[in-house]
Symmetry: C2
Subunit: 281 residues, 2 copies
């Protein structure tokens, strides 16, 4: 158990990484928005398999929240995040201010088409633009050998892989398996918003996706499976279903049949909280 | 006089640069679209003041040409370009294919607001998006210490400085002074399109900008100076004037008075050719 150092400027981050590079150590980056939970810690452990030195960035990125979304109330807890990271042996926390990431006059935005089309973009149209721009900045700031993003945000993972490849950033992008609560609920910082009765309903999201996957495997059509899942989610008590969609696992394009790897992805609302989940079919 | 090596993949480029880095040599990049002239060679010489090793990239970027523009007829002359670069001691030419820069499924685009607003963007709306995306790729591919862009494309230079700063690329962006023919015409690969009578008229662009600058210095208002220059250009034989504009030299915002550094910028057409020029006021 060691306490990771905390730096808040790109220049300090680069200084530390340059020092590690002198010793020919491989460097990993785990980008997060803080409010760390076991899902994040599993990303840290996975990254440690690939690298000797590990940076966790903590930055709640205003550019990926729409004005009506939860930027202001998004949980922030740098001190307890640092405590959690000390238990897994992270080497450095990069916690920049908004002004450090978006200096005066900032005017650049990055858009990724391809896998960003549809699904989340239909409901959060500015989301991936904000994500792509800040992730490009973080990757350029640290230039790690390896960076990891959770499969919980599966569409985001594909967008970031596309971005990294398109820009030619010499960084391997890993995907971290979803970590779940006992009842199957995917861990998420936003789960903290759930009231007890909402929390109970939230657990059925994963159960319904698993059931739907089983039905697909035993021959249900994609259209039937998607509409069945939507009905089951509403019956379980979710307020609304943004989407339940079975898509090509690598492009997220619509598919007719399950003849190549597919993924089922869902976004639902309960109370004031929006939850997402996904799994391989 | 040494013949520079030529590589066509990002991976070869990085391999060579990594070797130089082992020897702690500073690396400079001169991005070009080829069809090199004395203006480009002056960028090479300027860069050599800052760096020990120098890469010239040659890539005619389809993304910055609109469908009706001159992508197909833009002059390409890799062999004679290499000859010219051997006279100035360039170390490496990076001449990627379109497929190397835009691999299958490429879906990323970078937009820079701020200095890209107005002027060129009013007439070539996709231009700076294409420029920003390819320049970011080139800068990320080479990660030089220093890169230079000609002041002839003054607005482009400001857009690239903004982009580089916004993305946090650790690269100094230099601006190379405009190199001119004997009559004042700014050197440009597109000058090769000019017929003899067009070429004669083209030389008056710089003369008229110089006259206009003198008038501004002796008290003419910006509005009077701009409209006077437009009238003079038409009288000199140009087919049309896209713009003549006096702007803030660092933001390109409109100004009322000459109380901070200003720049006069112009774009004109003659025959099928579009010419640009600019100078400090």
């Amino acid at each position: 158990m060691k306490t990771p150092g905390i730096v808040s400027t790109i220049s300090e981050l680069r200084g530390q990484i340059a020092q590690w590079r002198e010793g020919h150590e491989l460097v990993g980056l785990v980008p997060t928005m803080g409010a760390l939970h076991e899902g994040h810690l599993s990303l840290v452990r996975e990254t440690q398999k690939h690298c000797q030195k590990l940076v966790v960035s903590i930055f709640v990125n205003p550019a990926q929240f729409a004005p009506h979304e939860d930027f202001d109330r998004y949980p922030r807890s740098l001190e307890s995040d640092a405590d959690k990271l000390s238990t897994v042996g992270a080497d450095l926390i990069f916690a920049p201010s908004v002004a450090e990431m978006y200096p005066a006059g900032f005017a650049t935005s990055i858009e990724v088409g391809g896998p960003s089309r549809g699904l989340e973009t239909d409901f959060r149209p500015h989301f991936f633009g904000g994500v792509a721009t800040v992730v490009a900045k973080l990757l350029i700031a640290a230039l790690p050998d390896y960076a990891i993003f959770g499969e919980k945000d599966y569409q985001q993972l594909l967008v970031i892989r596309r971005l990294t490849h398109d820009l030619g950033l010499p960084i391997e992008i890993g995907g971290g398996a979803i970590v779940r609560e006992a009842d199957g609920l995917a861990m998420s910082s936003r789960n903290a918003y759930l009231k007890p009765d909402e929390r109970r309903i939230a657990g059925t999201l994963n159960v319904i996706l698993k059931d739907t996957t089983a039905k697909l495997r035993s021959g249900a059509t994609i259209a039937t499976a998607e509409s069945g899942a939507t009905a089951a989610l509403i019956a379980a008590g979710f307020k609304s279903v943004d989407y339940v969609a079975v898509r090509d696992a690598s492009t997220l394009e619509r598919i007719e049949r399950l003849d190549s790897p597919a993924r089922i992805l869902a976004a639902v609302k309960i109370g004031g909280t929006r939850l997402i989940d996904n799994m391989a079919v």
